[in-house]
């Protein structure tokens, strides 16, 4: 599913070059449920951005679902993100002026699915995360847990090969976080590859595999 070979990435921070990733190799198979763990500055966000084709590495190769991700134009990158990857963010990142239903349906808009059809599909996904009754609510009328569930429904609607989550429980209380994690487990149980980034050990332990990052390199890769 995911194959990273000697991925390196560095950023200019003022006068200094910060090496976020120093030549990482990583293989994640289809259907895995993986946590990337590390303290801040360990390179985990950079890794996630590269996995999500939001950022491109300075060197190394990235193969996603058999496709070599390299030298993509902005347009092709957008297309890959749309087709292959679902994102879930710590701060939910819903569009505030759209209803829950419209937010979930938005990725299908960029696939030119008709309004009626994408609303129908979006409704199915809202049901799946248990929020069918909140379809017309705006994000400001939803609790944090509800918002994150809407975001997960949005990430899933294109049936991506890979679900990427960046600190998905970071803004939620423990109990709500548990609900979200169980949702991820369900999704994974149905065959979706899920990669989540977290700095919390308890969250990481709920996955099947923990990849520990420090100073831009993998220091531990344990299967639970």
């Amino acid at each position: 599913m995911i194959e990273l070979k000697s991925i390196a990435k560095s950023y200019a921070m003022g006068e200094h070059q910060v090496r976020a990733l120093v030549g990482t190799d990583l293989f994640i198979g289809a259907g895995e449920f993986v946590a990337i763990q590390g303290s801040s500055g360990s390179g985990k966000s950079t890794l996630l951005n590269i996995l999500g084709i939001l950022d491109s590495p300075d060197s190394g190769t990235y193969t996603l679902d058999g496709n070599l991700i390299a030298n993509l134009s902005a347009r092709d990158a957008a297309r890959y993100r749309n087709r292959f990857i679902g994102f879930v963010f710590q701060s939910f990142n819903l569009i505030h002026h759209k209803s829950a239903l419209d937010n979930v349906a938005l990725p299908l808009y960029y696939q030119n699915v008709s309004r009626r059809k994408r609303h129908k599909i979006a409704m199915e996904y809202l049901e799946r995360v248990g929020l069918a009754d909140r379809a017309t609510h705006k994000p400001s009328e939803l609790s944090g847990g509800q918002s994150q569930r809407v975001a997960i429904a949005r990430a899933l609607i294109t049936q991506p090969a890979l679900l990427l989550a960046d600190e998905p429980t970071g803004a939620l209380d423990t109990q709500t976080g548990e609900q979200i994690m169980s949702l991820f487990r369900d999704v994974n149980a149905q065959g979706m590859t899920v990669v989540l980034v977290t700095h919390e050990r308890e969250i990481a332990e709920q996955t099947q595999r923990i990849i520990q990052l420090r100073d831009g390199d993998i220091i531990r890769d344990e299967r639970l």
């Binding site: 951005n49 999500g52 939001l54 950022d55 902005a74 347009r75 957008a78 297309r79 993100r81 749309n82 087709r83 994102f87 963010f89 701060s91 990142n93 819903l94 569009i95 505030h96 002026h97 759209k98 419209d102 938005l106 990725p107 808009y109 960029y110 696939q111 030119n112 008709s114 309004r115 949005r154 294109t158």
Partner: protein
């Protein structure tokens, strides 16, 4: 181009930011509205001034003999100068720059009137002897009959062309007077035409009180010999009447043995200077209208780009989200441009209609004053060339799109990582 999904998306965005949408729209609306109103008023003033100008050709020049003021070739000063038919022939032969030369004679003094009689009715007219060429000096239409023609001149026919008021006073408005007799100074003339000037100017009553007799007939029956009262002259196309008048004056000076330095022997007057002055006034008004109008529009465009700039800043996160879930840079650009063009298009068209409605209301209010027969106001129905109005809206839309392109390109390049990181 007609992408219902895109418009639904645009509509949602515009609706969700009502205040911002309204502010931008009102800027555009106001710009177009002001431009339309100002153009309309400009045109209203222009046609008002035009209407108030006399119906005579605007480049006509009049020249008459006065008296010599200097001794020359043994002749004393103070000698009256009398123009004659021979002068007419000489002028026409030697000055090709004259397009039309209309020698004229009057029965009375300047604007003096004589009685004209039909049966037991009598009214007053300004009688003149004229050539067919006079039609170029005073363009006219005919209710009945025709103007004087060369055959009238040649055969010295006793015929007359009368004005509208004379016609209605003597015959009644609905009576065809052609072939009927009228008497001027006990001499009978056959009516051959009833004219109305193409433009009345401000002296409609006077225009209706004119009577034209063939000049040859006039000179004979009223014992004028071959005397000419004055010339009305139209210069050839592209020439200024004052220049041609110089040539006329020179020739007439030679013919009447007047000192070349004697500027008082012949008098002249022309409407061209007047006309040019008014023309310049119009140019000034138009320049003013367009300057203010375009400045208002420019302010509208700047308003749009400014608000779009803020709007895009504000929505950076949204564009980041959209890009992370599959929006291409082109689709982001397309959406922003669609938003702008919708906003500008709709408010521009509303402004256009409001402006037209405004002009209509102004017309309704001012009509009783401007359209009365002896209206003496320099204002007429405000009109606007719809093509100009539409062009203004289109130009505004294009300018706004161009102005939006800068912030929109910025939005296109938003890095989702950056946008989503910003909390």
């Amino acid at each position: 181009m007609i992408d219902r999904e895109l418009w639904a998306e645009v509509w949602q965005v515009l609706k969700s930011n009502r205040l911002r949408t309204l502010l931008t729209a009102s800027g555009i609306f106001w710009g177009i509205f002001i431009l339309i109103i100002m153009l309309g008023f400009g045109n209203g003033i222009q046609s008002g001034v035009n209407k108030s100008m006399a119906g005579y050709a605007t480049n006509a020049l009049y020249m008459w003999g006065q008296a010599s003021s200097q001794p020359y070739q043994g002749l004393p000063p103070g000698r009256p100068i009398q123009l004659s038919n021979d002068d007419t022939t000489a002028l026409l032969q030697k000055i090709p720059d004259i397009a039309h030369l209309a020698p004229r004679v009057r029965l009375e003094r300047w604007r003096g009137r004589s009685d004209v009689v039909h049966g037991n009715k009598v009214t007053d007219v300004e009688v003149s002897g004229d050539m067919p060429e006079f039609r170029h000096v005073l363009p006219m239409d005919f209710h009945y009959g025709r103007f004087i023609n060369p055959l009238d001149i040649k055969e010295k026919r006793k015929v007359v062309v009368i004005g509208e008021r004379v016609h209605s006073d003597l015959f009644g408005e609905s009576v065809n007077p052609i072939g009927r007799q009228v008497q001027i100074r006990q001499i009978s003339f056959t009516v051959i035409g009833v004219f109305k000037p193409k433009r009345y100017g401000s002296n409609r009553e006077r225009m209706g009180s004119l009577a034209f007799i063939p000049i040859s007939t006039f000179q004979q029956v009223f014992n004028y010999g071959d005397a000419i009262g004055f010339y009305a002259m139209i210069p050839a196309d592209g020439l200024r009447s004052v220049d041609v008048a110089g040539q006329m004056r020179q020739l007439l000076m030679q013919r009447h043995r007047v000192a070349p330095t004697d500027s008082r022997a012949f008098g002249d007057w022309n409407s061209e200077n007047e006309f040019l002055r008014i023309e310049r006034l119009f140019i000034g008004i138009r320049a003013f209208v367009w300057t203010v109008g375009l400045a208002t529009l420019l302010a509208g465009v700047l308003g749009v780009s400014n608000i779009m700039l803020i709007a895009i800043r504000e929505r950076q996160r949204e564009f980041g989200i959209r890009k992370s879930i599959g929006a291409t840079p082109a689709s982001v650009l397309k959406m922003i441009l669609a938003e702008t063009s919708t906003l500008v298009g709709v408010s521009g068209i509303l402004g256009l209609f409001a402006g037209l409605l405004g002009l209509y209301v102004v017309d309704l209010i001012t009509r009783p004053i401007t359209q009365s027969v002896d209206a003496d106001v320099l204002f007429d129905t405000p009109t606007i060339d719809l093509r100009i109005a539409i062009a203004a809206v289109v130009a505004l839309a294009i300018a706004s799109l161009l102005a939006t392109l800068i912030p929109a390109r910025h939005a296109m390049k938003i890095d989702p990582v950056e946008a989503l990181r910003a909390e």
